[in-house]
Symmetry: C2
């Protein structure tokens, strides 16, 4: 503990994260974890992909891992999704230990939370919500998969994909993800509800649970609700219009209803679920480019999602509109937004782009794949999305290492990394009363 | 004049710009302007490309236009480069007319100037500097081209390329731009000096001319000098390292000195000259991607360059670093930078990206070219650069129209367009004493 106190919270978070990934790597390298032995780099990649809830896969999950291996991946997903830090605090709480400032700060960091109070309550809700939602999701998916595979396999598949979906992990036990269920309403509704709930942010869920009336919700909650609805609807429309005549995607589906389900699923998955029910590589270039934008934006703060976060995008959008109107102050929904929030959103976006650009630059040197598939892959890693145009398995060693770094960066957030390098004494930033979480 | 007073300065600027492009289009459509008749869209594209000093060419300049056509292009370049507005004011001044507030605002807008005083002085300097530098450039280039082509053609070529270079127009009278002079020190020094001087911004030149001591220079001037030197050196290094072993570019050059000249030229031309001495399409993907970043950043404010401008990039960079260090205020070189400047830089960058993304999105629908060449083409248009991976000539009608829009947008700046839509009464933004021009 004395050693630990030498580090700042962001540094500690990175260290704990790295150690967890290492343990995961070793476990996945065990002989009984895989059907045929996998390389160290592939074990590291898989462990990182699970722990960061990305879902990019260098080896096919179902055909490469044993049940034990799959369970390791599931545990890593759950650890990564709920945040190792909340686990640590929870365990300490259970053991009756006093929770010090330092440890609170750590959890706060890992949940991208700025306010200090109510962390413990948040974690309590976090666990109750997560387990409840995952349970309900398992039951819902069982309706489809028990009749299809029998009781044991059906429940296992339902549980695995419910956990994977709620944590926005994108790991699936079919090589073609959920393409086999492109037209199945229950799978479509079940999986998307799980990852939207997991990706909108726990603070939003807690606020809705406690408040229940839209008008009284926190500004952050309102922005997330309206923003999520708007961007998902727009994305669904764009996929529908661009892919309608594509014989390899929507064109191959029989009915309008099927096409709508597929448009909806492919519209909402890039921010940052990572499952797919259409073949990603067969999508048209504009659709892929649009998905790249969605992957960069990502889901909600304090959620299982990655990216710069929807609120960062909204704050920047409003700040620009406000500037163009010559306003002195940024006002959203009758609340003044302090400059530090704008600067925070700007810093996250700028750093995100910087890392993205660096990643694309390096991969364009090390890989021979077309530029668009490289840009897609790197953005997918940054947004911890897991969608791929199909180059993950054939990445070079250097390429894999870069993607591993970017997945970790995407999960921890650009600011955590930046603050871990910055001087501790200077990292204190004051936050206003009514805040929007943007990280 | 009564009709004109109904418009805001940004709207007027767009209208005058559009009219000039139309006149250019009609002149280029005249039978004696071209060797073989060109289509209306190609005439419009060429007129826009010249007027916005971009240099993207749907038809080869030298083999398609007569001497008359070339002179039209040169006049459009000079008009576009120095700003039609400064011409208007100058003519009015010569005619002894009183120069009203409205007209001053117009010029201010077209030069991306925020301060009000000294506009007339600036324009005086602008003309003297431009003509002097173009004349010196012509003489310098004549040293190479008169011995090669004889007096008349040699002087004409020197004059054409001096004007084209100083105005960062990128139009050349060789189909392969300056590839024939890749190892010629005089052409390398002459052309790059011209476009760097033209692209750094007139206010910088005036400040250096008047002040002469680095310490006493305006903050804007210091930033531009240090920034230009740093980014050019870095770009030269990147091109050298990435292309050294490429048999189609640096690898084909005989000596180290030749390779260095070519690295230097290709490093400095993307912000926003647009000439090339290596085959752009043969460059490696990472080099092309790096060039895209340079093209987006662009040159200096109040210059012949496009892009978001180097100072916008620097201000955002410093703002992010300042935020990470937990500072309350952005301080550059012991000067406090007001929030409005940060917001302005943010707005320019965000809007620039928005238009870029929209352009790439549309072209990825209308064109069949690889994604990278589309991204390269659109960024080149936005930065009014003129470099291309070779798809300009084969663009579809829709693609040409989009690129025409983006060239105009890139030349006028995203803010001019945005402010032309925004309500006039709200466009007034206060600026501080020590300012950095970011538009
Ligand atoms: K994911
Ligand atoms: K140019």
């Amino acid at each position: 503990m004395k050693l630990l106190s030498k580090f700042t919270p962001p540094q500690l978070l990175i260290i704990i994260f790295a150690i967890s990934i290492m343990i995961g790597t070793i476990l996945l390298k065990l002989p009984f974890a895989t059907i045929e032995s996998i390389s160290w780099i592939n074990a590291l990649f898989t462990s990182t992909s699970a722990m960061t809830v990305t879902g990019l896969a260098v080896v096919d999950t179902a055909s490469s891992f044993t049940l034990f291996g799959e369970m390791i991946i599931l545990v890593l997903i759950q650890l990564g999704g709920l945040g190792i830090m909340s686990f640590a605090v929870l365990i300490a709480k259970i053991l009756g230990k006093k929770i010090g400032i330092k440890r609170r700060l750590l959890v706060q960091q890992s949940l991208n939370q700025n306010s200090f109070g109510g962390i413990l309550t948040l974690i309590k809700y976090l666990f109750i919500f997560s387990l409840t939602i995952e349970l309900v999701g398992t039951i819902l998916l069982s309706v489809v998969w028990i009749p299809e595979m029998g009781w044991i396999k059906g429940i296992y598949y339902s549980f695995f994909h419910a956990v994977s979906a709620f944590n926005n992990a994108g790991f699936a036990l079919w090589q073609d993800s959920l393409m086999g269920y492109v037209a199945n309403p229950i799978v479509n509704i079940g999986i998307t509800s799980l990852f939207i709930l997991g990706g909108i942010g726990f603070t939003v869920l807690v606020d809705i649970w406690r408040t229940r009336r839209f008008k009284k919700l926190a500004l952050h909650t309102k922005l997330m609700l309206v923003g999520t609805f708007t961007i998902n609807l727009a994305a669904m429309l764009v996929v529908f219009l661009l892919e309608y005549t594509n014989p390899d995607t929507l064109g191959s589906l029989a009915t309008l209803q099927d096409k709508l389900w597929a448009s909806y699923f492919q519209g909402v998955t890039p921010r940052t679920a990572g499952f797919n029910s259409l073949d990603i590589a067969s999508l048209r270039e504009p659709t892929l480019f649009f998905m790249i934008l969605l992957m960069f934006i990502g889901g909600g703060s304090a959620s299982t999602a990655g990216g710069i976060k929807l609120t960062s995008f909204i704050v920047i959008l409003f700040a620009v509109v406000s500037f163009l109107r010559g306003k002195e102050e940024l006002v959203i929904s009758k609340r003044a937004i302090k400059q530090s929030i704008i600067l925070r959103a700007l810093a996250i976006t700028f750093l995100g782009m910087l890392f993205l650009v660096a990643g694309v630059f390096i991969l364009s040197i090390t890989e021979k794949s077309p530029f668009l598939s490289i840009l897609f892959e790197v953005t997918s890693a940054f947004g911890t999305v897991g969608l791929s145009m199909g180059i993950t398995g054939s990445l070079t060693m250097a390429g894999k290492i870069v993607i591993i770094f970017i997945m970790v960066l995407g999960k921890l957030g650009p600011l955590t990394l930046a603050f871990s390098i910055a001087k501790p004494a200077r990292t204190k930033v004051k936050y206003p009363g009514e805040e929007i979480i943007t990280g």
